[in-house]
Amino acid sequence: MKAFTYERATDLRAAVAAAAAPGAKFISGGTNLLDLMKLEIEQPTHLVDISRLPLQRIEAVGEGLRIGAQADNATVAADDRVRARYPLLSQALLAGASAQLRNMASIGGNLLQRTRCTYFYDPSTPCNKRTPGAGCSALGGLNRSHAILGASPSCIATHPSDMAVALVALDARLELLGASGTTREIALRDFHLLPETTPHIETVLLPGEMITAVVLPPPPSGRHRYRKVRDRASYEFALVSVAAILSVTGSKIEGARIAFGGVAHKPWRSLEAEAVLHGRPATLDTYQAAADAALAQAVGRGHNDFKIELARRALVATLVELGGAS
């Protein structure tokens, strides 16, 4: 770990100003940043600790919910309003990491965690994320956990968050505070970037810009389910996960939200699958057509070929669970 200076932020504006300096970074839970700093994959020269800024509140805004970015994962998962109205989010949070890590990690930090690609984590191997232009070792390497959607020849890493998958299905928006004090709001769906030729640029955040809150619109009607598929029963990143909300009246699908985790460089909202489901009868054929649509563009890289079929089956199984199969 390279040496750095540390300051505990007490003021929002001062924090973003401090973090805009070259080499500066925010730290909150630290669960991913320190992990990477120990390996010198992250090398900040100055840390701005924002964990004690007054951004922990979870509050109703109209029919929706506003979650402060410094609320920790465990508290949000356990919040009565989240559990009652956004069970998808609770389920996704609880499927992630361990209880200890959920107690530490902030909501903002969860969104900004970096890929667990084994080559990204090993500085002795070429990686376009660590060193742009160096090449991608996962292509032609061990890529069981890697992306099947939206990847590029530069990078086939996945985004590891469970929570973000639920949030993108819930149409969450992010409130951002810029280094100069300006605020803006964007859809989470537009926050993470696909790798293309610049996999080292992972989000649209500007230098010093901070996520201050996640805003949830009123929950769509329907049943929620976050289904995470992994080797062991707990404490493992997803091979594939599905966030689904399905609203069925009679036997007709009135509305659907579908997102996948573990398959792409970002939480993967599947508007294609939703379009297939909308207005159709809640049958196995419909679910399979939705899965076909969701994965039409999927590409395997060898060890991860199975994830295409796994994602398909996981989605169909989740829809059967939520909507039945008449």
């Binding site: 770990m1 390279k2 040496a3 750095f4 200076t5 540390y6 505990r8 730290i27 839970g29 630290g30 669960t31 320190l34 992990d35 120990k38 020269t45 100055h46 840390l47 600790d49 964990s51 465990a74 998962a77 356990a78 559990r83 009652a84 069970p87 609770s90 389920q91 609880l94 499927a95 990491a97 361990s98 209880a99 200890q100 890590l101 107690n103 530490m104 029963a233 707990s234 404490y235």
Partner: protein
């Protein structure tokens, strides 16, 4: 180039004892406990938040001490395994671990015990888990399946898992925390 960084003063309480430390900013809470305060009951198994051996309680909540900097804990109340009980005056959870043989080599044990105590507090607060059928249900039926899921952040290579769950089950009957 002059290296930036250096040391920074930090004060926190460990097991009720205040400590004023002047630490390299890079020092994790885990290394502060082990290498500076010589409280070696808290173990380093992976140093990356992947095993839970370094679990301690901060304000009663369980965290992994390897992925947090000591300087981030100004004013915090930290409880380590040494603060829970002594060999001649065991905490009920510690006693249950001995009785149920909830360990073999003992290296993950401090983390398991601190984690179990933090876990029971979470369950009493009604927090759901990944295996809770209805996350909106107001109370938790703390089945063995629930205990196992909630303790899954603590690896045990000796694989004392069934005994650990039995110990927690015993201790949760009384005043586990």
């Amino acid at each position: 180039m002059t290296p930036r960084g250096g040391t920074q003063k930090t004060s926190f309480n460990v097991n009720g004892t205040p400590h004023d430390l002047d630490l390299d900013t890079r020092t994790t809470l885990l290394d502060a406990l082990r290498e500076h305060l010589h409280l070696t009951g808290t173990k380093k198994g992976c140093d990356h938040g992947q095993c839970g051996a370094c679990t301690v309680l901060i304000g009663g909540r369980r965290i992994v001490s390897c992925l947090t900097l000591a300087v981030m804990h100004e004013g915090d109340d930290i409880t380590t395994i040494e603060g829970l009980g002594r060999p001649d005056a065991l905490h009920p959870m510690q006693a249950a671990f001995v009785e149920r043989d909830g360990f073999q080599c003992g290296y993950c044990t401090s983390g398991q015990i601190c984690s179990a105590i933090g876990m029971l507090r979470e369950a009493r607060a009604g927090w759901p888990s990944h295996v809770t059928e209805d996350v909106a249900a107001p109370t938790i039926d703390l089945t063995d399946e629930e205990l196992r899921e909630r303790m899954s952040g603590n690896l045990c290579r000796c694989a004392a898992y069934p005994n650990i769950i039995a110990a927690i089950r015993d201790a949760s009957g009384g005043d586990g925390a």
